[in-house]
């Protein structure tokens, strides 16, 4: 069947089957962007609430991390290497974009592989890569650290803000005020960790869940299956609808790298707070590459919290238009909170696709 016809048919059945409010959460910025870009919000009955959870690692990178990166950029012998979407995330006083405009050596790179190239090209400098991401990105960081060890590279460091999806999902599901009926699980986190990584959502919390890809048919299929599970038409256990990319146990090479290089500890999620065992940190075996252990950070400013409602937005309790700063004091050009900065941040997506709410 033609894909458009298939989507139309499923949307018709989804909307026809709704007899009460249904809340479906996705926890991946790429899903949020796809839902907005393909107009999926507008296809569905107003009784189906698609909410976004904390699925954008840039959005949950705390101010202290940015302040540490800014502090490092002040050192004349340091080159900061970063993904582009971190440039405008605000710290307490400044952001990387502002610091670059004053001449600090801050370079946007596409892949962490390029941080090794920079370290080799500038042996008299210390290259610090800002390693931000979830389970999808962490194995790449781990691999680069292992490569740097093998190649005896001593001037490459990593300032990590690597986070785990499972602990934050547990935090959200333990909050009974959330009333979530279904969760669309992030397809590329599942590519690394396996589809069974998210089985706990249904097994422990009896909430419907699917692992979904990012095309319109993938997302509509995920919503369709969650609705069928809610109606009892289909047995409700975690389903993998992204089989072309996701295996049951994930990528075992990537998972071995995670075990080899990282430990877990409590992590601070911007706007949300400390979440137990949610951060991946470089372990003692590779501490020579850990920027936190190899640089002094004694000039950090006192943290002042944002005035925006990022916490409620990240936890899916409110939408960006509810924030009094949205669209006036907080815009993509002049962001206040991190959710407005990243192309996958909920506020940035709403600003581009749904300013009116």
């Amino acid at each position: 069947m033609n894909e458009k016809l298939l989507i139309a048919k499923m949307v018709q059945e989804i909307n026809g089957s709704v007899d009460k409010d249904i809340v479906i959460m996705e926890v991946c910025g790429t899903h949020t962007q796809s839902i907005a870009k393909y107009g999926i919000w507008d296809m569905l009955s107003p009784n189906i609430k698609l909410v976004s959870g904390p699925g954008c690692p840039v959005c949950v990178t705390d101010k202290k991390y940015i302040d540490m990166a800014v502090s490092l950029s002040q050192k004349e012998d340091v080159i900061i290497a970063t993904f582009g979407d971190l440039m405008k995330v605000t710290g307490t006083i400044s952001c990387l974009s502002e610091e670059k405009s004053t001449g600090k050596d801050i370079r946007i790179i596409y892949s962490p592989i390029h941080s090794i190239q920079l370290a080799k090209e500038f042996p008299n400098k210390k290259v610090v890569f800002l390693a931000v991401g979830f389970e999808t990105t962490a194995p790449l960081i781990g691999k680069i650290i292992m490569m740097a060890r093998e190649q005896n590279i001593s001037n490459l460091f990593f300032l990590t803000s690597l986070k785990l999806m499972k602990p934050i999902l547990i935090e959200i599901l333990n909050d009974k005020s959330n009333c979530i009926d279904g969760i669309i699980c992030p397809g590329h986190v599942a590519t690394i960790k396996g589809s069974t990584y998210f089985s706990f959502i249904t097994n422990d919390y009896n909430i419907k869940s699917v692992v979904s890809g990012f095309e319109p048919l993938d997302i509509i299929s995920g919503i369709y299956l969650i609705m069928q599970q809610c109606k009892g038409n289909v047995y409700g256990h975690n389903r993998n609808l992204y089989k072309r990319c996701v295996k049951e146990k994930g990528n075992h090479i990537a998972n071995k790298i995670l075990e080899e290089v990282f430990d877990h500890k409590d992590g601070n999620w911007r706007g949300i707070g400390m979440i137990s065992n949610s951060a991946m940190i470089i372990n003692n075996e590779y501490e020579d590459f850990d920027a936190e252990k190899n640089f002094y950070f004694n000039d950090l400013p006192e943290i002042k919290e944002d005035k925006c409602i990022c916490r409620d937005i990240l936890l899916g309790k409110k939408i960006p238009v509810s924030c009094k700063l949205f669209g006036n004091q907080c815009t993509p050009q002049h962001p206040v909170g991190a959710c407005m900065v990243s192309s996958e941040g909920t506020c940035g997506i709403y600003y581009r696709y749904r300013k009116e709410g």
């Binding site: 999808t136 990528n251 990537a254």
Partner: protein, 76 residues
């Protein structure tokens, strides 16, 4: 942030492969996937192949992207 795109490995040299998607060629690290070969279809994230994908899945993704690109062109 977890964006990943499909591609096909055209050639391999050591730990890296030249991978192509919609005519664009990119050099990617292939050490995170098992037994990579020229002709394999892969998922690329930030310069690394993170999984092999089956041909049907790749063909479908490419078809969808071409449709979307044609839709965009028709608005110009």
């Amino acid at each position: 942030m977890c964006l990943a795109i499909p591609a096909q490995i055209k050639s391999i040299e050591g730990a890296y492969g030249e991978a192509m998607y919609l005519g664009v060629v990119q050099r990617v690290n292939i050490e995170l996937i098992e037994s990579p070969s020229a002709g394999d279809y892969i998922l690329i994230h930030a310069g690394f192949a993170i999984e092999k994908i089956d041909e049907d899945g790749y063909v479908e993704l490419e078809r969808i992207m071409r449709c979307l690109l044609e839709e965009c062109d028709s608005y110009e």
